[in-house]
Amino acid sequence: MQGCRRKRYTSMHQYLLMVVVAVVMFFPILWIILSSFKPMIEFSVFPPRILPSRLYWQNYAEVFANSKLLVYLRNTLILIVGNTIGTLLSSSMVAYPLARMRFKGREVIFSLILMTMMVPGYVTIIPQYVLFKQLGWLDTFLPIIVPAFFAYPYNVFLFRQFYRTIPRELDEAAKIDGCSEWGVFLRIIAPISRPIFITIGTLSSIFWWNEFFIPMVFINSEDLKPLSVGIYSFSRTTFVVRWDLIMAMATIMLLLPMALFLLARQYITEGIKTTGFK
């Protein structure tokens, strides 16, 4: 009886703690959404109101009408599509021999791939900038999309992790039937690997929806900025900071990652978990 009560007490305790942590983690997101429905005047009242006095949809109408939101959105979508196609094609291919073939230099290449994951992006950005300047690619989408076609190490790693779980008998059988390596890759490994394609496709979309630094460096024109940089530059163009409009824009920025996470939660979490294991 005593023990039973103690258990109930600790689990109450635990629930409370879990709720507190959930509030801490979710509050900023909630605050963005709630604020997006407040008229500008309600950002300067004290004490701050938790709920907007009424749902002020005009913020959304105004942000669509008076900012480059649609242009930013189009640019972000271009970056997402380009990068995701690029990395899926190249990374799935590069990972194949690392997981399924034996060849000289495999270990060297694989450890180089892992090592490049440890290089901070700021270390390579200046020469990349110079290179793209020489090519005349500055202030276009090319510096942001083209590198994706040359396989990102993190994605190569995720593909390799997945390929290694596929039974070898499948390739062996196909090879006995006269399938080439490319045949095995395209007809057997790639179709089986659909889940990891979905995982990386989703992660890549979320990443490029959120990415701030790279477009900040390569894009200058207002008409080419993606959402992440666009919302930042919008916040700095108005004389008074228009919190109402910024929050409406920020709410729109929450939509895609949250939707993708809800739709593909299993794929995302399973994919990330494999990075922690051999």
């Binding site: 689990s11 605050w31 959120n210 990652p257 979490t269």
Partner: protein, 316 residues
């Protein structure tokens, strides 16, 4: 994902380096598959690192021709009273404490999600992970509102709790450095670590806890004696991941939130590189800073490997 959203599985790889057995004829085919990465490595990673090293010995404004000045940039970086000392000091502070806080927090969240006799963990897991996938730049605007001295909800709540002098979170130089460190719990890598800890905790055999419970060990002792040793390889992996990622995400968190201010108190090296390279066009100087950053990242990962030999328990 790019090179930057990365983690450090190199560590596990080094533990299990196998012997490469070559079957003749396969090599050339294999290299055809790997070719895109090799080209990418030369063009976008390896080549640029070498170029950064070379440029760090020059004075260059991106327009004319780089002037060789030897170690001049490094001498300027490390001369007495140089601003770079402030940048370096903050970067070290930021990295060490973001790692400590984000790793600790991720482990804490994962431990909560793995509590026995608790239902609904999947729902909680959703709330714990969701900030990781939304854009940091959007969150920084929320932080500015929430943390505002006069109008922010946090200070309002604190004043309700009886606090008279409410803090100026983002302006007080002593406070802001802690605020930006703490906000790392909302980053992608913090969420990533939470998921990895979560699955590591699920692997710890239940019987160990049951045995400890019979022996009368409390929750905390169980955590120290059973959980920590069991997940120590994962803990180390996450420490490496967090070190690299906190350096890597510093720009996205700091630039929209504080832009390095007030003054230069939150000017991390990433912001300084960006500023010097692309705003004031002191490219050689920025490259020298990049090389220092490269060294820090390499040293940090190396240090973790060395320490791992002592700390980490492996099942053989």
């Amino acid at each position: 994902m790019s090179v930057r959203g990365a983690s450090a599985p190199l560590f596990f790889f080094l533990l299990q380096v196998g012997s490469p057995v070559t079957r003749s004829g396969e090599s050339r085919k294999a290299y055809l598959f790997v070719l895109p990465w090799i080209l990418g490595f030369v063009l976008f990673t390896g080549g640029p690192i070498l170029a950064t090293i070379v440029l760090s010995f020059t004075k260059w404004d991106l327009i004319g021709f780089p002037n060789w000045i030897g170690l001049g940039n490094y001498a300027r970086l490390f001369r007495q009273g140089s601003e770079f000392w402030i940048v370096l000091k903050f970067t070290a502070f930021y990295t060490v404490f973001s790692v400590a806080i984000s790793v600790g927090w991720a482990l804490f969240e994962a431990a909560l999600l793995n509590a026995r006799n608790i239902r609904g963990t999947s729902l909680f897991g959703f709330f714990y992970f969701i900030p990781a996938v939304v854009p940091m730049v959007a969150l920084t605007f929320a932080f500015q509102l929430i943390l505002h001295k006069e109008l922010g909800i946090l200070n309002y709540v604190l004043s309700l709790l009886g606090l008279r002098e409410t803090p100026n979170w983002l302006v007080d130089p002593k406070l802001v450095v802690w605020v930006v460190v703490a906000l790392n719990i909302y980053t992608f890598y913090a969420g990533q670590m939470m998921l990895i800890f979560d699955s590591a905790l699920k692997e710890v055999p239940r019987e160990l806890y049951e045995a400890a419970e019979i022996d009368g060990a409390g929750r905390f002792t169980q955590f120290l004696k059973i959980t920590l040793p069991a997940i120590s390889p994962i803990l180390l992996f996450n420490l490496v991941t967090a070190t690299i990622s906190s350096l890597n995400t510093s720009f996205t968190l700091l630039y929209p939130l504080t832009a390095g201010g007030p003054g230069k108190v939150t000017q991390a090296i990433s912001l300084d590189i960006y500023h010097n390279a692309f705003k004031t066009f002191r490219v050689g100087y920025a490259c020298a800073e990049s090389i220092i950053l490269f060294g820090i990242a390499a040293l940090a990962s190396l240090l973790m490997f060395v320490l791992s030999k002592r700390w980490v328990y492996y099942e053989v």
